[in-house]
């Protein structure tokens, strides 16, 4: 069986992190979300994967160039019109029954296996969710799908569609018919099948996680870090303490006096310390340097970073290539953040910094601030509100 993974979207609500990479490439425990999806699909026995790419497609192709044991083909969706339109791009590669997934939701192998094993022609993976109204809510009778309602205003039900389906190749006829009428969402295609009395069987998924807003990365990172096991390569100097599951990559040096409590993942080619403390649930990307006497907690630090000495970073996300000077201090706390007219209350959040930003020494950031990509912040500033990409704080 083949699988089609939709990975063409940008993820505007995840800016600034998606300014240079598609949403599916955001790192969780040092692996892009899409790799979790591809792993799960491969491990459930699928031998050919078609990835529909579009926005920043090179980032995906470059990353998966070394991926083994499964044949990956790419098709391009030039304009991101919708999920059904995206799927249509893969038509020429599909002859039989197949599964389709979105590349930006973490899913486990077991759920996909269940979907594949289901004998019916059409089936859908659904999932109970604490905030169903953000998604397509499904109505089910005796395991048969009755209706999908996109983002209902009221609480209608607690099960949602994961957007993962098993479908026959004849679906492309339905997709073509609807897209020719200007309907581009896969959910609408499925709803029209339901309306025409097609039987779509529902299968309940075990693990399914979505990233909608930047801070979701912290929760998903924390959840996925629980699955890591301790494994240490690189050079660990005498006098380093490591407790719990700590994973350290190749060519990484951890200098004397560091104190690391897992779950923590540190990538390849990093330098940490001396005397730096890292606490759960933290991920540090490849080729990053954390200078002496820092404290880092529950944060996602991406590739190619430099964190100056004596910095305190907690509940924060820092995009790749960013540089922070000495005494960079985050004040995590309670706040309300607005993105695209939606307000979200958060109990404990630090800073979110886009890639390639440069932050001077002794900068202090208040809770929930979003700093864009390629910004420059002069030393000794106190940042209390968002800084947009490509701007300077003098």
């Amino acid at each position: 069986m083949k699988a089609v993974i939709l990975a063409a979207g940008e993820g505007r609500r995840l800016r600034p992190f998606t300014e240079t990479m598609p949403k599916v490439m955001l790192p969780v425990a040092n692996k892009p979300v899409l790799e979790y999806v591809v792993d799960a699909v491969k491990n459930s026995g699928i031998d050919e994967i078609i990835i529909v790419v579009g926005y920043r497609k090179e980032v995906i192709m470059e990353y998966f160039k070394n991926y083994e044991d499964v044949d990956i083909k790419y098709v391009v969706q030039d304009k991101q019109l919708g999920t059904a339109h995206a799927l249509l791009q893969a038509k020429k590669h599909i002859k039989d029954s197949f599964i389709v997934l979105s590349g930006d939701n973490i899913i486990d192998q077991n759920s996909i296996s269940k979907l594949i094993k289901d004998k019916s022609e059409y089936s859908i993976l659904i999932k109970e969710h604490p905030h169903p109204s953000k998604y397509g809510v499904v109505f089910v009778e005796k395991n048969i799908l009755k209706e999908i309602v996109e983002k209902p205003r009221e609480e209608l039900g607690k099960f949602i569609s994961t957007g993962i389906y098993k479908l026959p190749s004849s679906i492309f006829d339905n997709v073509e018919e609807l897209t020719s009428q200007g309907i581009y969402a896969l959910t609408s295609v499925i709803q029209s099948l339901v309306d025409h009395d097609k039987e779509i069987i529902t299968v309940t998924s075990d693990l399914w996680m979505d990233i909608v807003y930047p801070w979701d990365l912290l929760n998903v990172n924390e959840a996925m870090l629980h699955n890591i096991s301790a494994s240490v390569s690189g050079v660990i100097e005498k006098g380093v303490t490591m407790k719990g599951a700590v994973s350290v990559g190749k060519n990484t040096s951890i200098y004397s006096g560091c104190y690391i409590v897992g779950p923590v993942v540190i990538g390849d080619g990093c330098e940490i310390g001396p005397n730096t403390c890292i606490f759960p649930s933290t991920t540090i990307g490849n080729n990053s340097v954390v200078h002496p006497f820092c404290e880092i907690r529950n944060s996602v630090l991406m590739d190619d970073l430099r964190i100056g000495s004596n910095s305190y970073i907690s509940h924060s996300i820092i995009g790749r290539g960013s540089i922070a000077g000495h005494n960079f201090t985050i004040i995590p706390g309670k706040t309300t953040i607005e993105i695209e007219d939606e307000f979200t209350k958060l109990d404990n959040i630090g800073v979110m910094i886009g890639e390639d930003s440069t932050i001077g020494s002794n900068v202090i950031v208040e809770p929930g601030v979003i700093i864009g990509r390629k910004t420059e912040i002069s030393p000794l500033k106190r940042i209390i509100k968002n800084v947009s990409s490509d701007s300077k704080v003098m």
């Binding site: 240079t20 790419v53 497609k57 090179e58 995906i60 192709m61 470059e62 998966f64 160039k65 070394n66 991926y67 083994e68 990956i72 083909k73 790419y74 060519n251 040096s253 200098y255 390849d268 080619g269 330098e271 310390g273 001396p274 490849n286 080729n287 340097v289 200078h291 002496p292 190619d304 430099r306 790749r320 290539g321 890639e355 390639d356």
Partner: protein
């Protein structure tokens, strides 16, 4: 320059040979052929790409055979001249990469004793010579035949009367053994074999080998059997695939943020403020060096020219950059000088020749290469690997940037050893090195802007590239990239030299690409642009992000991010690569296989 392959095992030889040849076609692709023993020896050849050959071959069952993809050196491109070549009774077949220098004399002798030749190649001589020496054992015949041959060769031979055996030998041309289970391989290089095995045995110059499907015997030049070590290759076959990119070249351009990390890997430490090389290399750099000679060919030569600026600026040691093909015959050699050879493949014949000459004259030798186990790493006193992974596109991209970075690291190391570099200065260089991947990423993000500019030069007959200081070798490299893949005539000049001649060629239809960094010569190059503009051409300026003046002087501006005067060469190079790529792509050129060119040139 050709690619050769041999197989004996349990699979259908035809499929294996074709598959491996497709991975060797960067070494040449004007004609190809295979010979398979299926009871009788059957030979198939075709002009053009390997796909043409594949179409023409019927079903054949044999599980032993040899194959060849050709880049013509002796004799025109034709079916007759394609390999394999056979003896008169068509029982012995040979594929060959290299040049037989005394082939005319040998051919005359063989013709006198009754051998009939069907091609104009030097290789056919080998087939007839083996026939002449053949009694009942193929390897003995090959051994005797090779004694009479002068020149360079890597050969693979099969004989119908001994249908379980392939015999290989090499001298100054590459050949590796691939070790499988119940099957064995011979090939010009490793990527050809990676689909089937990652275990290889390297053959030294002058060695020969006999393979059956479950045995490997290697002999030295005195025919004594030698024990060989098996090596595990960590490259992945996917490294050598396009992974969705339309061309290898584009994929390799996009590889660069990653390959730069790989090149720096384990060699710099930001917290310790140190540069680290293996002990052997550090010892070589630690000696009393009075001067440095860099020898290389093609793109590597330009990397050497850029390296000259870096090493001289940082260490003060004079650096002479020489073309390997000239140096090996005409170069001056001093025992007090360090000779650094740069060769991506480690097999470039001219560079190897220069390296051997230098070594024989008592110079200390260091090679910068991408291929572990290559001939160059075994000839030189020490080697530094570029660690950029296999490069398939004929136009060098990621290996060029890695070469410059290695030369920069060498410069820093020598400066540290000689106490020429303050701790703060070193720290800044280290920080700038670590920023390179992100700067390259930012250039890649501007690919669309670069394509827009490419539209302005794609219909030009000629393009000039100018720069000063380190930007002069970059101009040469930018022009080389453009001409080799887009077939537009392009020349690079030191900006100050334009008025000493090249101006005569300048018309309003000759776009000029000017590379400008904010260094002490900034005003001078602005003046040069003025001189150019006065004659009508459009000027495309390549300038750094912080340059606010340049728009006033140039028609188009492409920006690169930079904090370091010395290391901006890396981002500029990537920008020039994309400019050449997009121009060639807009013109519809065969980017990965430009006409008349092959990836590594293992003939002189």
């Amino acid at each position: 320059m050709c690619g050769i392959i041999g197989y004996t095992g349990f699979r259908e030889a035809k499929n294996v040979l074709i598959e491996c040849l497709k991975r060797l076609d960067y070494r040449g692709y004007d004609s190809a052929g295979i010979g398979v023993i299926d009871n009788k020896l059957k030979v198939f050849k075709e002009v053009g790409e390997i796909a043409n050959l594949e179409k023409e071959i019927p079903q054949i069952k044999g599980c032993i055979g040899i194959g060849h993809t050709r880049w013509a050196t002796h004799g025109k491109v034709s079916k007759e001249n394609a390999h394999p070549h056979t003896n008169c009774n068509k029982k012995i077949a040979v594929v060959h990469n290299g040049i037989i220098e005394n082939f005319k004399k040998l051919k005359e002798e063989l013709e006198k004793s009754g051998h009939k030749f069907t091609s104009q190649t030097d290789t056919e001589v080998i087939a007839h010579l083996i026939d002449e020496e053949y009694k009942d054992n193929l390897e003995d015949a090959v051994f005797s035949a090779l004694k009479k041959i002068q020149g360079s060769y890597a050969i693979v031979v099969v004989c119908e009367d001994e249908p379980r055996k392939i015999v290989g030998a090499r001298k100054e041309s590459p050949l590796v053994i691939g070790v499988g289970d119940n099957e064995n391989f011979l090939a010009s290089d490793i990527p050809a074999l990676l689909k089937y095995t990652n275990r290889v045995v390297y053959l030294e110059d002058g060695e020969s080998c006999v393979l059956t499907k479950n045995s490997i015997n290697v002999f030295n030049k005195n025919k004594k059997e030698v024990k060989k070590k098996e090596n595990i290759i960590e490259w992945d076959i996917k490294d050598a695939e396009k992974s969705g990119f339309p061309h290898f070249m584009l994929k390799e351009i996009y590889d660069q943020p990653d390959t730069i990390h790989q090149t720096l890997r384990g060699r710099i430490s930001e917290i310790e403020r140190s540069i680290n090389f293996p002990e052997v290399v550090e010892k070589l750099l630690n000696n009393n060096i009075n001067s440095i000679h860099i020898v290389a060919c093609g793109t590597s030569f330009y990397a050497g020219l850029a390296g000259k600026y870096l090493i001289e600026q940082i260490t003060g040691i004079p650096v002479f950059v020489e073309l390997a093909s000239e140096y090996r015959y005409f170069g001056t050699r001093k025992e007090s000088s360090l000779v650094i050879a740069i060769t991506q493949s480690g097999e470039t014949a001219d560079t190897l020749g220069a390296l051997k000459e230098a070594k024989n004259s008592g110079c200390r030798t260091l090679v910068v290469t991408n291929v572990i186990g290559s001939t160059a790493t075994r000839v030189a006193d020490g080697f530094i690997l570029m660690q950029s992974g296999p490069e398939i596109g004929v136009a060098a991209t990621k290996t060029f940037t890695s070469q410059i970075i290695v030369l920069f690291l060498i410069a820093l190391k020598i400066a540290i050893i000689r106490d020429k570099l303050g701790s703060d200065e070193l720290y800044h260089h280290i920080l700038h090195l670590k920023e390179l991947p992100r700067q390259v990423r930012q250039v890649l993000d501007r690919s669309d802007d670069i394509m827009d500019i490419a539209k302005h030069i794609k219909d030009s007959k000629s393009v000039f590239f100018i720069g000063r200081g380190i930007n002069y070798p970059l101009s040469l490299e930018g022009a080389l990239k453009l001409k080799e893949i887009s077939y537009i005539h392009a020349e690079g000049f030191a900006a100050g030299e334009l008025k000493h001649g090249p101006f005569a060629l300048l018309t309003k239809d000759t776009p000029v690409v000017a590379i400008i960094t904010r260094d002490p010569t900034y005003d001078k190059i602005i003046a040069n642009i003025g001189e150019v503009k006065a004659r009508g051409p459009r000027v495309i300026a390549i300038a750094d992000d912080k340059d606010t003046e340049i728009e006033k002087h140039a028609d188009f501006v492409l920006r690169f991010p930079s904090n370091s005067r010395l290391l901006s060469c890396i981002s500029i190079t990537v920008l020039l690569q994309l400019l050449a790529y997009h121009t060639a792509n807009l013109r519809g050129c065969p980017i990965d296989k430009p006409r008349n060119l092959a990836k590594s040139v293992t003939v002189e």
